[in-house]
């Protein structure tokens, strides 16, 4: 099982993602955003950073990078497609996930560990987790404020597409535990099939105890298990 980790101009978390995947025994390789053939890969990760400088809107230009045709193909084929932070924004712009990420409510760049609660385990990000499990993962974003129209929000809630919500260390989801104004405290969502998912905080920065938390490892183990499952 080999995972493609996409590098757009301005991506800056690609090596951390490769490291995190290799640390759990997965093979991972960097691919450039101009690559047009991902047929040798079993899954793909769009890592964090500032793809194409975040010009116009975050992810707006990246979604037209040549590699995205392959990302869409893999998503349609049921392969695991994971977006982290800026990758989340790209997947939303590409229409692979609903909604949009706006500037944080308080217009501050947030860079600190936060807690998220696992809402369910039917996604490529959470299948190795427990429902209700609280994970400590660093948030590192200025545009992490998840927003959608009322109709979209109702639909993704009804369809259980919300996989992670910001919470306090005890797992309580409330306004006080919402770092950036995201509607419904949403920190991670998936598509109806569960093979495309994205998360705003950075699991790759919490994959070893020496980093202060190894909770992010559970998300990569989930992703790895999903690669196996999608290959059956």
């Amino acid at each position: 099982m080999t995972t493609a980790v996409v590098v757009f101009p301005g991506t800056n978390c690609e090596h951390d993602v490769v490291y995190a995947l290799r640390a759990i025994g997965e093979e991972a390789e960097l691919v450039w955003h101009r690559d047009t053939d991902l047929s040798s890969f079993d899954g793909v990760v769009l890592p964090g950073g500032f793809a194409h400088g975040d010009y116009l809107r975050t992810g707006a230009i990246a979604r037209f990078s040549p590699v995205m045709t392959e990302v869409v193909r893999m998503a349609d084929a049921g392969r695991p497609v994971l977006g982290i932070c800026n990758g989340f924004q790209v997947l939303c712009e590409a229409g692979l996930l609903p909604g949009v990420l706006l500037q944080n409510r308080d217009l501050k760049f947030i860079c600190r560990p936060i807690h998220v609660r696992v809402e369910h385990t039917n996604s490529i990000l959470t299948r190795a987790a427990r429902e209700g499990q609280v994970l400590e993962i660093p948030l590192n974003s200025y545009e992490g404020n998840f927003t959608a129209t009322d109709a979209t929000l109702d639909a993704i809630e009804a369809d259980a597409q919300v996989i992670l919500r910001y919470c306090n260390p005890a797992g309580v989801v409330d306004a006080a535990a919402n770092p950036n104004g995201s509607l419904g405290n949403i920190a991670g969502i998936m598509n109806p099939g569960g093979n495309v998912a994205a998360v705003m905080p950075h699991p790759e920065r919490a994959c070893e105890d020496i980093l202060g938390s190894s909770d992010g490892r559970i998300m990569f183990e989930s992703f790895a298990a999903s690669l196996e499952a999608a290959n059956v």
């Binding site: 230009i61 712009e93 500037q103 959608a148």
Partner: protein, 80 residues
């Protein structure tokens, strides 16, 4: 031909930057300020003679790239 595109966030979509500017203006004593929304203006210079065709082309650009249909509306003005 010059074309001006104004991209606006829908009224029901939050504009944290607009809210911050609104607060700053009130702090400066402009109490009459009720609301501030920050729009984006994009000016394009396009090779073309037919304003209708140019506008149609720019509309396509708006739908595909310049605006995000999830949260923004756009207004096109084909210049002199």
């Amino acid at each position: 031909m010059e074309v001006t595109v104004t991209v606006r966030r829908r009224p029901n979509i939050a504009d944290p930057a607009g809210a911050a500017v609104s607060k700053a203006l009130r702090d400066l004593g402009y109490d009459a300020v009720e609301k501030v929304r920050i729009d984006r203006t994009i000016t394009l210079t396009i090779d073309g003679a037919d304003p209708v065709a140019v506008e149609e082309r720019v509309r396509e650009m708006c739908e595909r790239l310049l605006a995000n249909p999830v949260m923004e509306d756009y207004h096109i003005e084909v210049g002199p």
